[in-house]
Symmetry: C2
Subunit: 374 residues, 2 copies
């Protein structure tokens, strides 16, 4: 069978950058938050090497913002996440796990405090706008919950800072990791954050004007010309080397925030009113029985992981590989797996039941060696 194409209709939303990306050429898409997200521009290995040596512009409009604003915004934002939001400063971006009453993950967004009564949850692939909106409606909170038309554009790779400095000025060099600053482009102020879904470093620009976005895209391409810039996208190999999890693939509603390895973002000791925090406190007291881990699978190149691959030890299933890719740099299959805690330590060896047969595998450090070049 030839690989099925993706049917392009309004429901899988285009972005202000889609026509530019498509005129460059694109091999594969996925759908993320009801929106197009490229997965391969040339092919996944070519994209990987290019991302590590040059610079890419990524259309990550699908990182939808859920805006919460109004007098009760701070209260609702704190209810939504088990991260401690009490002293969270304007200008910071932070992982902020959103869990249900049982501590199970609804989303693993990055939260940005845009103003005192205004928060953006930059969400992974689930309709947090409905979770937050349902709670706000039921409690009669004085707050607006909606998805503003904001389309993040990422610039990632070793030359990202130079490109962004050319477009926005030298002030970008002072932005620290996971901080943002409002910077001018044309006569418009845009939020520029030192964030992004790669280990190569870079920025994300929160574009809130579609036409301006097109011109910004063009300005970034011109600024990056000397560094061989081209369109790119989150790269399967690169993100697995870095140990970056995808909600829906590697972590799901079946997993708690602690099992998903997000414990350091869960303020379990803090006296905060956050949905699910009691369940996570109980789980921590009782002991977390499984956790996500990076693993290296021996042997030659494996196919893409569509359905979880069982992980076996001592004759029984102790985990599931949920994403895997051949690393042409490390010459191993790099993967993420949910693992029983007693098999999750670095160096632990297991067997993975892959479509190409049983393979030996070893739990790795996260990230893999050399994932980041910084």
């Amino acid at each position: 069978m030839n690989a099925p194409t993706l049917t392009l209709t309004r429901r899988v939303r285009s972005t202000p950058f889609t026509s530019r990306i498509e005129s460059f050429g694109i091999t594969s898409y996925t759908v993320y938050n009801h929106m197009l997200l490229a997965t391969q521009i040339v092919d996944v290995e070519d994209d990987y090497w290019h991302l590590r040596r040059a610079v890419q512009v990524w259309d990550v409009s699908c990182e939808r913002q859920v805006e919460i604003c109004g007098p009760d915004a701070a209260r609702l934002a704190q209810m939504l996440t088990v991260r401690d939001m009490r002293e969270f400063p304007i200008g910071r971006c932070g992982y902020a796990p959103v869990v249900d009453g049982d501590g199970h993950l609804i989303n693993d967004p990055v939260v940005t405090k845009v103003g005192d009564d205004r928060f953006w949850f930059s969400v992974s692939d689930s309709d947090v706008v409905l979770w937050a909106g349902g709670i706000a409606h039921a409690l009669g909170l004085d707050v607006r919950v909606f998805e503003p038309d904001v389309w993040p554009l990422a610039v990632q790779g070793p030359y990202a800072e130079d490109v962004i400095a050319t477009v926005f000025g030298e002030a970008v060099r002072d932005i620290r990791f996971f901080r943002f600053a409002p910077l001018p482009f044309e006569d418009h102020e845009l939020i520029v954050a030192r964030t992004g879904w790669s280990a190569q470093g870079g920025f994300e620009i929160y574009v809130d004007d579609a036409e301006l976005g097109g011109r910004l895209f063009d300005a970034v391409m011109i600024a990056g010309d000397q560094h061989d810039i081209r369109p790119g996208c989150p790269n399967l190999i690169e993100r697995l080397e870095a140990g970056l999890m995808t909600y829906g693939s590697d972590i799901t509603r079946d997993d708690t925030a602690l099992e998903a390895g997000l414990g350091r973002f869960c303020a379990l000791e803090a006296p905060i009113e956050a949905i699910g925090i009691e369940a996570l406190r109980r789980q921590k007291a009782e002991g977390v029985r499984r956790q996500i881990a990076s693993i290296a699978i021996d042997g030659d190149r494996l196919p893409i992981c569509r359905d979880p691959w069982p992980v076996i030890a001592d004759g029984r299933q102790v985990g599931s590989v949920t994403s895997a890719a051949w690393s042409p740099r490390l010459e191993i299959n790099v993967a993420l797996s949910m693992m029983a805690i007693e098999h999750a330590a670095v160096g632990s060896t297991v067997v993975v039941d892959t479509p190409d047969g049983a393979r030996r595998a070893t739990v790795s450090t996260t990230p893999f060696p050399g994932a980041s070049q910084r």
Copy 2:
């Protein structure tokens, strides 16, 4: 540019039927409720003619069920929809618009009352499980809200009843339109409903056991062999001839239930506690200013509608075409458009600004002539 493929990962979930559909062959997918949904098996016109003359088996697992069960289930179900659920009988399926506090559409599901304290909302493409779950959590309702592992399998086309009768027995012939009955397959009882997303008639079977589902699929294929059965999927041409709207394409959160043409399912006179009903009452009193309509666009074959096409009358925009397809039977472009009310009457003529230039168009009856053969 070649048409981009869809990258197949765990996040775009496979179903118990995926391997069978793919071994037959499939041209295109979409992603719907984070799950694979075929859009073309051979090609959209070949699939269309086959659906009208024979019978098809559709993997519509992506029609996820949101189950609400427990002592407060009936109360929450009524809060979630502006349909009057008070006398809703077990055994019926019904459209049940789910709207926010402003009357704007969150989803247009079909609700099934499975038991006195147990409802299934069979949802279109948005995470109703989060909306319903957020409300239930905030109000402390004694209810469980979750997506059970239920994968609907549809059999659609003129010979659907014969095929289903061969598999489940003659009792299926007594099931009325939008009613269901529990019927045996092997030693298991499955809900079989006379529903489906085509005008050709047929059934949907709510499969709640993955392995049984595979055997059911095979039994349906054998039973349909004499009628030239093959895998199919919701067909763009057929659904536009029938006037079947898609949430996310033709109707969105920007539209109220009344603008989406769902007024007959909104019990605005009933004394019920339903979210958004006050807003819809106000809108009805003030007058609905736009509504969805079927329109026929003149001229030869148009491309697929990715972004809304402006509809022009009297020199200004009066609507947007959101889906369009060439009907090889009617030899016109059949479409759905949101229209200003004063241009929405059957026979009204407008101009559509298509990618192939301005075209004359006429508001049609819904459905188009001959859409259903029954």
